[in-house]
């Protein structure tokens, strides 16, 4: 939510009557939309999957110029790749396994919006978010990756204002964006293809130290399929029947957003039961994006 640009103020006229007006929000001149790039890896060339050099680490350094509130993920590439974000200072991984780029990397016309803005308080020094990217294609892959968000130039702010901004924006709960992929996903981000006309079950498994509020579902595949989502503990299917893949899944640019956010509590599992309808071997990548919530 953008900060208000203009705020209403009241004053008094010389005759004592109340005067209402509008003025610029004093914080606003110190907040700007900002693109974060790895200057040393603006364009990464990944070798074909399996070859030496098929992965690389992109580092986003948030320098001491100001805090950064990460809002969008964007990029372009010549093929799919997987991503693993890591916030070193808070020792957080933002996913349980590598996530397919088609699920969380948008472009300017349709950026991928994080389920919750990720506020990086630079304190007195700097922060770094790193991302390991791995090629998922059999050919060379040129990747450009950008984080976009709000930069708070708090060092330029008048005394007291910076503290107020931190108070209002720093997370009060340990709550942050997280990507959950099925535990059947391999640690290099690849998946085992579902056989022609075969059925398979993927499990989204929430670990025991956080709850997870799911906001959107992204699934990409090499062929058509039908699916059902089932809550494992209740044996409850959240549809009246199998759904065609195009009716309940999206991608990074057009994600499928749940009608109401889905709370996947700790130690709970959500099962994705798929049946291939393409008649061919079908590689199905799935990602749930949401907020991970921990108690401090």
């Amino acid at each position: 939510m953008p900060l208000a640009t203009f705020i209403e103020v009241t004053g008094r006229n010389p005759d004592g009557s109340v005067r209402r007006g509008v003025k610029i929000n004093p914080v606003k001149p110190f907040v700007r939309g900002y693109w974060m790039i790895d200057p040393n890896n603006e364009t990464v060339t990944l070798a074909a999957q399996g070859a030496a050099g098929d992965s690389a680490t992109v580092r986003f350094n948030i320098n001491s110029q100001g805090h950064f509130d990460w809002v969008y993920t964007m990029g372009v590439s010549t093929g799919a790749y997987s991503l693993e974000f890591y916030d070193a200072q808070s020792n957080r991984r933002l996913q349980n396994r590598p996530v397919n780029s088609l699920h969380i990397v948008g472009i300017a016309t349709r950026p991928f919006r994080l389920p919750k803005d990720y506020f990086l308080d630079v304190g007195k020094s700097a922060r770094e978010v790193s991302c390991v990217i791995r090629n998922l294609t059999g050919t060379q892959n040129l990747v450009r990756l950008v984080l976009y968000g709000r930069r708070f130039y708090h060092r330029e702010m008048p005394e007291g204002m910076a503290d107020e901004v931190i108070k209002s924006l720093a997370p009060k709960w340990n709550e942050y964006s997280f990507f959950l992929v099925p535990r059947e996903t391999n640690m290099d981000g690849t998946v085992t293809a579902v056989g022609a006309n075969a059925r398979a079950v993927f499990m989204f498994d929430q670990d025991d130290n956080a709850d997870f509020e799911v906001q959107k579902l992204m699934i990409t595949s090499t062929g058509t399929f039908t699916f059902e989502l089932r809550e494992n503990d209740k044996r409850q299917v959240i549809a009246t029947g199998a759904i065609d893949s195009t009716m309940g899944s999206g991608n990074s640019e057009f994600p499928f957003i749940f009608a109401d956010t889905f709370l996947l509590e700790r130690k709970k599992q959500l099962l994705l039961e798929v049946t291939d309808t393409s008649g061919n071997s079908n590689s199905i990548f799935a990602t749930l994006a949401g907020k991970r919530m921990q108690y401090r």
Binding site: F6, V31, G33, M36, D38, Y72, P111, R151
Partner: protein
């Protein structure tokens, strides 16, 4: 702007909001409905169309929608507005501000036409600047019509109160900002193959604005940075691709936080062509301006 509530709570229970039945979503279609702009440089390449906000009621303009056979440039002009009647500093590419029914271009700030006792007109000047062929254009405004004239006096007054139709103090309204390097008729700058250039977005000295979204129509790929001249802040830590920072009318790129652009400031866009060919780049930033009327 949020929808008006359909139902309201009263001491006697929930009833239909009496204002709601006087408010309807409404298309204001141009006159003439279809314009044919002849080839660029010919006598009929520039034409005016008008949008009549008739005496049935006020109009709260929210979207721009239209179809066209090729890119053209448009300049909106409100003859009843104060000193500055144009809604932009230069004519703007249709690719940047004309959407469709599926993906309308939403104004950063709804534009309220208070018809008073008469009616209002918005004029749009359409220009074919680039095409050697004629361009067929259909353009419409879309928004909310307040049928206050045939409403009971109490409802009519509440409509005025709710939407500030009589207010004449500070008013924010939509504004389209183009680089000052563009020609007065809106003709954009062409960057040489692999060449560089600089665009300057400049606010006038008589209003503050906040910038909401970025749209571009370019012939090829380019990279860029944005820099504030007053603070020398570069709004990225490196140069990056145009496709990661600029959208279109249908899919604009929204700033993560609206960019306050105070009076007399400049936003510098440093561009490098990556296409290897001459690259015509029509860039527009849409926002809203706040002018103190007194």
């Amino acid at each position: 702007m949020a929808n008006l509530a359909s139902y309201i709570r009263t001491p006697r229970g929930i009833v239909v909001n009496p204002v709601k039945e006087r408010v309807r979503a409404y298309h204001v279609v141009s006159n003439p409905v279809t314009s044919v702009l002849t080839a660029a440089g010919t006598a009929g390449a520039t034409q005016e169309v008008s949008f009549l906000i008739d005496s049935w009621g006020h109009f709260d303009w929210q979207y721009i929608v239209g179809t066209q056979t090729s890119e053209y440039f448009v300049d909106f002009f409100d003859p009843n507005r104060g000193p500055k009647k144009n809604l932009g500093n230069k004519p703007v590419s249709s690719a940047n501000i004309v959407g469709t029914g599926q993906r309308p271009f939403r104004l950063p700030e709804p534009y309220f036409f208070n018809i008073g006792d008469g009616q209002r007109v918005l004029v749009a000047t359409l220009r074919n600047l680039l095409s050697d062929s004629s361009i067929t254009v259909r353009l419409a405004l879309y928004g909310r019509k307040f049928f206050h004239q045939n409403a009971p006096p109490e409802v009519s007054r509440r409509l005025f109160d709710a939407f500030g139709g009589l207010r004449n103090e500070e008013r924010a309204y939509t504004y389209f900002l183009s680089p000052r390097e563009y020609a007065g008729d809106g003709t954009p700058v062409t960057v040489g193959a692999l060449g560089t250039t600089t665009f300057t977005f400049e606010s006038d000295s008589d209003y503050d604005s906040d910038l909401h979204k970025l749209m571009v129509s370019a012939q090829g790929a380019f990279s860029f940075t944005l820099r504030e001249s007053s603070t020398d802040r570069v709004l990225a830590n490196d140069v990056f691709l145009g496709t990661l920072g600029w959208g279109t009318a249908q899919f604009p790129f929204y700033f993560a936080d609206t960019l306050l652009f105070e009076r007399g400031r400049q936003l510098i866009m440093d561009i490098t062509d990556l296409s290897g060919s001459t690259n015509r780049i029509a860039a527009t930033i849409a926002g809203r301006v706040l002018r103190y009327e007194r």
